[in-house]
């Protein structure tokens, strides 16, 4: 796509705008443009965490303020040359952000709302600390004596040029992240954090990284702004104007687009200018509030959101989605087999060795002391009545739940208790019984996430998408590659789950009722696909209620009942054992 055009365009725009001060504009225009650029930096940097990953911060004012006070203190009290204070301002803001994030993101219960409130509290705490210590001490800090670096013909134009550079940097960073592997991971976190973690996205580290980048840029803007206002007080720095305005601008422009916040900024700045004569005064705050209310109610996706939606290409890949009909459907080429090349039946070599695995929920024993082995290249069926612990088994082995006891050895490494993303990297993939696609990412990118992050992992978004396309062809979803998951029907969503699980070329796939809810023809197709997956050397644990498919596919069966293993062995023998007949079939046939 236009991978070079956007940064080039930004650079040209930056250079053109950089030439403005030399045209001898009145200082008033420079100040106005300065303010617009200032808000572009703040809104765009806010968006890198809050828009991309969905963790709305109300504390952007705190990180901005950290930059303001760092630059003010270093320049006014320690007489540093001003330009040297800016990197430090960015670093200090990033460090505070990472400190807050390291505590807040570690707590599992902290989702969007709580994060927003906590960051709001950080603003006032930081204000308290700064106001009470010699950093400010109450009266504020004057920067009158600090010389403005001579970059342009006048001090105002120098400030304008500095902020222009910061804005260009911020937009480039925002654009680059949006179109990177990192950015795709952030979007996955936005849509479904648990599923992202299971696909191998290191959610904790990614959120911290996004917060650090976001804070650093806000700190940079704060540093420059300290010199612009030249008199810094806690009351003026740490109030709600910054978070309120920034949230509004980003929402109005669209938080899922790299340029959304900037476009929102331009719109709001012009509106405010038209209404209040350029003063961010009393009415301005009310106007911002009103626009925010209207925006939330009528345009939750923002301007760029509407545009992106309208542009969603349909049937880009040419053909309409091929209906899977086993008799005469086109047979796509199998993707190259993953490492490990068993050809069905299973070997005697053990891939997954589960020893004494237990999991209980407040005294309810969902799994008690389960030990089983999965051999390389086999399809192991996992049966049991509802509530017997099958799904819990998958959730514990894939790292979604922490086990209460026991060990899970994969290829000679104990993976029990590791974070889910590390288990995904070690080579275990899973599907969800109820499909959990990333709702606002295309089908292609849904699969690319797994290809980039799980298993051995691919280093770039392009490579991930290329790999993902192969698996979409394998699951007959290639025609839907650029649709959103919401446009898929149930069976296509089930196959999307399958494609996501396979895209990482896992050693072991845990399939959680992939056939449930499909029609007989669709089941037939799916069974063939699963057999082909196994024939490529992938080991499969197959949880299913559809008995025909179970008997047709599995090499061995394990039956659970009330969290304990009831029977294990060849499918026919297991199904005829009296214990299984009474515990499982007796109930299931009732």
């Amino acid at each position: 796509m236009s991978s070079r055009r956007v940064p080039a365009g930004l650079l040209v725009a930056g250079l053109l705008m950089g030439a403005l001060p030399f045209l001898k504009l009145p200082a008033f225009y420079e100040s106005f443009l300065y303010l617009a650029l200032f808000w572009i930096v703040l809104a765009t940097s806010w968006n890198i965490l809050s828009g991309y990953a969905g963790y709305f911060s109300f504390g952007h004012g705190a990180f901005f303020g950290a930059g303001v006070y760092t630059s003010a203190t270093l320049a006014a009290k320690f007489n540093w040359p001003f330009l040297w204070t800016l990197p430090v301002a960015a670093l200090v803001a990033a460090a505070i952000g990472v400190g807050v994030g390291a505590v807040v993101f570690r707590v599992r219960g902290v989702r969007g709302e709580v994060f927003a409130l906590l960051t709001l509290a950080v603003t006032f705490v930081l204000a308290t600390i700064i106001g009470n210590t010699p950093i400010d001490g109450g009266p504020g800090v004057y920067l009158n004596a600090v010389p403005v670096p001579r970059l342009g013909p006048s001090p105002t134009s120098s400030l304008y040029l500095m902020m222009l550079a910061a804005a260009m940097l911020t937009l480039l960073v925002s654009w680059a992240i949006r179109h990177s592997r990192f950015g795709a991971g952030l979007f996955a976190i936005h849509d479904d954090e648990d599923a992202a973690e299971v696909m191998g996205v290191p959610t904790y580290r990614w959120k911290l990284a996004a917060l650090a980048v976001s804070c650093a840029l806000a700190g940079l803007a704060g540093g420059i702004h300290a010199l612009f206002i030249s008199y810094v007080t806690t009351a003026e720095t740490f109030n709600l104007t910054v978070p309120l305005t920034v949230v509004l601008m980003s929402i109005l422009g669209g938080t899922r687009h790299w340029a959304g916040p900037a476009i929102g900024t331009v719109a709001i700045t012009c509106l405010l200018f038209a209404f209040t004569g350029g003063e961010y005064a009393v009415l301005g705050k009310g106007a911002i509030g009103l626009i925010l209310v209207i925006g939330i109610l009528f345009m939750p996706e923002g301007v760029m959101g509407f545009r992106a939606f309208a542009r969603t290409p349909r049937g880009v890949m040419g053909s309409p989605p091929p209906r899977p009909s086993p008799s005469r459907g086109r047979v796509p080429a199998d993707p190259p087999p993953p490492p490990g090349e068993g050809r069905g039946g299973g070997t005697s070599e053990v891939l997954l060795d589960v020893r004494g695995l237990s999991k209980s929920f407040r005294g309810l024993k969902a799994l008690s002391n389960v030990s089983l082995q999965v051999r390389k290249g086999e399809i192991l069926g996992l049966l049991g009545p509802n509530g017997s612990g099958k799904s819990t088994f998958i959730n514990v082995v894939s790292g979604h739940y922490l086990p209460n006891g026991g060990e899970v050895w994969l290829d000679g490494r104990n993976i029990a208790g590791l974070p889910a993303h590390e288990i995904a990297r070690a080579g275990i993939a899973r599907t969800y019984q109820i499909p959990r696609p990333f709702a606002q990412m295309t089908v292609l990118d849904n699969v690319a996430i797994a290809a980039m992050y799980a298993g051995r992992g691919l280093p770039s978004l392009e490579a991930g998408r290329r790999e993902a396309m192969q698996w979409l062809e394998f699951t007959h979803l290639a025609g839907k590659a650029h649709s959103l998951p919401g446009e898929l029907n149930l069976h296509q969503r089930k196959f999307l789950e399958l494609a996501r699980a396979l895209a990482s070329r896992p050693k072991l796939v845990l399939l959680d009722e992939v056939l449930c809810g499909l029609t007989p023809t669709e089941i037939q197709f799916a069974v063939e696909q699963i057999r082909r997956i196994r024939d490529q050397g992938t080991t499969i644990v197959f949880v299913e209620h559809v008995m025909d498919a179970v008997m047709a596919l599995t090499d061995r069966l394990v039956v659970f009942d009330q969290g304990v293993m009831l029977a294990e062995g060849a499918p026919r023998e297991v199904m005829q054992s009296p214990a299984v007949m009474s515990a499982y079939l007796g109930m299931a046939h009732a």
Binding site: F56, A121, V125, N239, L244, K285, G286, G289
Partner: protein, 286 residues
């Protein structure tokens, strides 16, 4: 740092209890609408301060008895709260969108108040403020005592309604599982409006208490956000008694901090408590 005398310490514990009563009164409606209606209502603070200003206007300028202003403020706030609920309900806002929406409302109300009453602090001089009890060496200002009594009475009343009446059971059932509750014949629309209106009416009462006991300025409402949310989270979402108890714990800790160190460090207390709650009991906030 010198250790203050016992009299000073008990006086500050007492003032902490009074402050905590106000946190609890504000937190009550906030926590109920978060826990039972899934609306995180930042406008709650705006409603409280708007009430405080209306009380100030009526009492200081028109010489109405401050407590009588409640007769007008309570229905007005009830209507505002129900109106806001109509918006969140009509547009099916998620808790998060409701937070953003009410964040915007806060800005609107702030600018309205600044336009009408300016940004300068206003103080209501009422005859209540001059009345003080003496209990041994301790002072008991009437407005604060009144706040405490109101907070306790309202909290207990709300608790009893939620606990013992059909309405309370219906509200809790709807919060637990709305579709099932509806299938059992619960009129959720009516209950939702009733609860949202009541929450805002309580905010109105809290606003009058604020006007009686301290000076008010529009931007001051933001200072309450952190501490009241801390009380709500500590007390538990949707709980009636929790916010008051948690509010008093926070109020007393703040007051003692102020007595031992300096007043400006107080905001750190609620934040530290909030972080500790999150780290130690993450399961409670859902």
């Amino acid at each position: 740092m010198s250790f203050p005398s016992w009299t000073l310490l008990s006086q500050s514990v007492l003032s902490g209890v009074f402050a905590g009563a106000l946190y609890g009164l504000l937190g009550l409606g906030l926590g109920l609408s978060w826990g039972l209606l899934r609306t995180i209502n930042l406008a709650h603070f705006a409603f409280a301060f708007l009430s405080a200003y209306i009380c100030y206007q009526l009492a200081a300028v028109s010489h109405v008895d401050p407590l009588l202003t409640l007769a007008g403020i309570v229905p007005l706030m009830f209507a505002l709260g129900a109106g806001l609920h109509w918006l969140t309900d009509r547009f099916r806002l998620t808790p998060f969108s409701s937070l953003l929406l009410t964040f915007g409302c806060m800005g609107i109300v702030e600018s309205l108040m600044q336009t009408l009453w300016t940004a300068d602090p206003r103080k209501l001089e009422s005859h209540y403020a001059e009345m003080k009890f003496r209990l041994g060496p301790l002072y008991l200002p009437i407005p604060e005592v009144l706040t405490l009594l109101l907070a306790v009475a309202i909290t207990v009343a709300v608790w009893a309604v939620l606990r013992f009446t059909d309405l309370g059971k219906a509200l809790r059932a709807s919060a637990e599982d709305a579709p099932v509750a509806a299938a059992f014949g619960i009129n959720q629309r009516r209950n939702g409006f009733l609860l949202a209106g009541t929450c805002s009416a309580i905010a109105g009462i809290a606003g009058v208490c604020i006007a009686l006991s301290s000076s008010i300025s529009p931007s001051q409402m933001y200072a309450w956000v952190g501490v009241v949310f801390a009380a709500v989270m500590l007390g538990g979402l949707g709980s009636a008694l929790g916010p008051l108890l948690a509010g008093i714990v926070i109020g007393v800790s703040e007051a003692v901090t102020m007595a031992v160190t300096s007043p400006s460090w107080a905001p750190l207390v609620s934040f530290t408590l909030l972080i500790l709650i999150l780290l130690l009991r993450p399961g409670r906030i859902r």
